[in-house]
Amino acid sequence: MLKMFVVGVGAFAIATTAAAADISGAGATFPAPVYAKWAEAYKAQTGIGLNYQAIGSGGGIKQIKAKTVDFGASDKPLKPDELAASGLYQFPTVVGGVVPVMNLPGIQPGQIKLSGQLLGDIFLGKVTRWNAPQIAALNKGVNLPATPITVVHRSDGSGTSFLFTSYLAMKNPEWASKVGASDSVQWPTGLGGKGNDGVAAFVKQTVGAIGYVEYAYAKQNRSTYALMQNKAGKFVAPNATAFAAAAGSAPWLRSPGNYVLLLDQPAATAWPITGATFILVYRNQENPANGAQVLKFFEWGYNKGDALAASLDYVPLPANVKGLLKKQWAKSVTAGGKPVYVAK
C-alpha cells in the first residue's frame, strides 16, 4: 500500500514538474514556511516555482529514495553509511533550536536555569517537584513552588523530538540507556501533545508543566523558557545569536557527509539544543537539469534568503559554512562525472 501511495504521489509530482518546469521537493514540516517564502521570492525573480510537499522528514526520505522528487528534506541528518548506501548527498539550509518551556505562575521567562543532566532526570520522571533539591541547587534565590512537575512531549514523530532526545541522551547516561534518541521514543512519563501547538496548549493548561517546542513557536507565544547550561558551563537564553554561535562552532569541515548535530557545541554563547534542517539530493543526477535547478534555488536561499528566514524566526547558517557548502556541491552532485552546477 505504501509503495502504491508513494508511486501515486510521485506520479502527481512528476506530472506537475513536467507541466511547469518547477522544482519538486518533499519532506520536513519544520522548514516548510521558509522554503515557501523563498520559493515565492525566487519565482518572482526567475519564473521557476517550487512544489514542496511538507509531509514530514520520514516521508521526505522515502520520496527521495523512490526518486519521485528532485530533493528530499529531513530534520534529521542521515548517517554517512546510510548516505553512501543510497547514493545521496545532504546539506543543511537553516538552523533552529528547541526550547524547554514551562508553566510556573510567578516565574519569569529565563528565571529558571536547567542543565542537560537535570532536564533528563525531569523527563525520566525522577525529579517530580519544582522545589526538588536538584532544581534548587541550580536556582539559588529563586522562590520555587512545591508544584508537581507534569512532563509534556510531542506525540507525533518529529525532528524536534529527535533533537531533544538526542541532547538528553548526550547529557544523561540513564536517558541514553533507558530511552534513547529518535523521532518518537517510548516516553517514561508525561503526556503527548500533537505538534508544537498541542505541546504548548497542554503546558499552558497545566500548572507545573514542562515541555519543549521549536524556538519560533516559543518566541511568538512569549512562553516561559528556561536558560540552559551549555558545554562551556554558561547558562544561555535561546535566541538567534545563540543558535548562530552553535552553528558556527560545529566541525563542518571534519564531518563526513555533513552529518552534523549542532547539539552541545563548545562556543561560550552557544544554545545547547540547536539543530539544522537538511536537503537530500542524489550524488549522481539522472536528470542534471533538475539537479542544477535544486542547487540554484538553495544557492539563492543562501545568498539572498537570510532576511526572509530571519523574519520567520529561522536562523541562517553562518556565512563561512555557506561558502564551504557551495564549494562542496561542484564535486558532490554530478552527472556522468561532471558537476551539474558550479555555484559562484
Binding site: L2, S57, S182, D183, V185, W187, G192, G198
Partner: protein, 317 residues
Amino acid sequence: MATTELASPRGAPPGHATGEVIFRFACASAATLLLVALAGVVISLFIGGLPAFKTFGLSFLTSTTWNPVTEVYGAAGPIAGTLITAFLSLLIALPLALGVSVFLVEFCPVQLSRPIAIAVELLAGIPSIVYGMWGLFVLAPWFAAHVQLPIAMSVTPGSWIDKVFSGTPNGANIFTASLILAIMILPYMAAVFRELFLTVPPQVREAAYGLGCTPFEVIRSVVIPYVRRGMIGVIMLGLGRALGETMAVTFIIGNAHGFPHSLFDSGSTIASTVANEFAEATSDMHTSALIALGFVLFVITFVVLAIARLLLREAKH
C-alpha cells in the same frame, strides 16, 4: 419462494435487451470494483504488516511496549484505548441520541422540529479536526479545572474512587476523548433514529394511543420494537465511526502508549498512533508495525460489523 421468483423476473425482458444488459453490467462492475478495492486494501495492509506480525507474533497484540528506538512494538495499549473509547462514547451517545430523536418525533411542535432536525444534521457535518481543536482548547481546560481537580482534591488516596479517577489534571484522557467521540457520533445517530421513527406507520402508533398507552409505553412497546433491526444497524455504524475516528481523538487523548490505568489516564488509539507516527516513521519495522496496526483496526471493525449482522439475523426470527 416460487412467487417471489415470479415477481422479480431474472432474464432481460425482450425488446430492451441491449440497454438492460449494459445497465446490469454497469451495476455488477460497480459492485465488483468495490469488492476488489476492499480486498486490495486488506491484502496490502496484511502484506505491509507481515514483517511486524512475523517478528513479534502474538506479543504484537499483548505487549504494551511501543519503543521506536529499540524497534520493539506491542499494540495492546492502542488496541485497549480504541475499544474503551469507542464503547464508552457509545454508552454516552446512545441514550442522548434516543432522547433527541424521541423528542423530535413525539413531543416537539412541528414548527420547531424541522429547524432542530436540520441543526442536528448540520452538527453531523462538522469536520473532526474542529471537534479536536474545541476539545483541546475548550473542553480539556474546563474539564481539568471543574471535574478533575475537585475530584483529585476530595478523594482519599488509595480508595477505589481514586483508582478509577486518578490522572494528571489537564483534561487529556480516555474519558474526555470518549466525550468528544460521543458528541461526534451523537448527531449522526439522532438523525437516523429520527428517520427510523418516522417510518413507523401512524396507524400503529395511533392504535396504541387509542388503547390508552402513555407516550413512554408507545415508544417502548410499539415504536422501538418496530424499528429494532434498523436501530442495531445505526448503533453499529456509530460504533464503527468511533473506532476509526482519528484527528479529534489524537488532540485530546494524551497519546501515551501504555495501557490506561484509570478513566482519567492518558491513552492512545490505533488511529491516533498511526496518524502521529506515520509521517516520520523512517525505519522499515516502524512503518510495518503501523501498517499492522491498520490491519488490526480493520479486523476489529470487521468483527463489530459481523456481530451487527448476527444480531440482525436473530432479530429477524
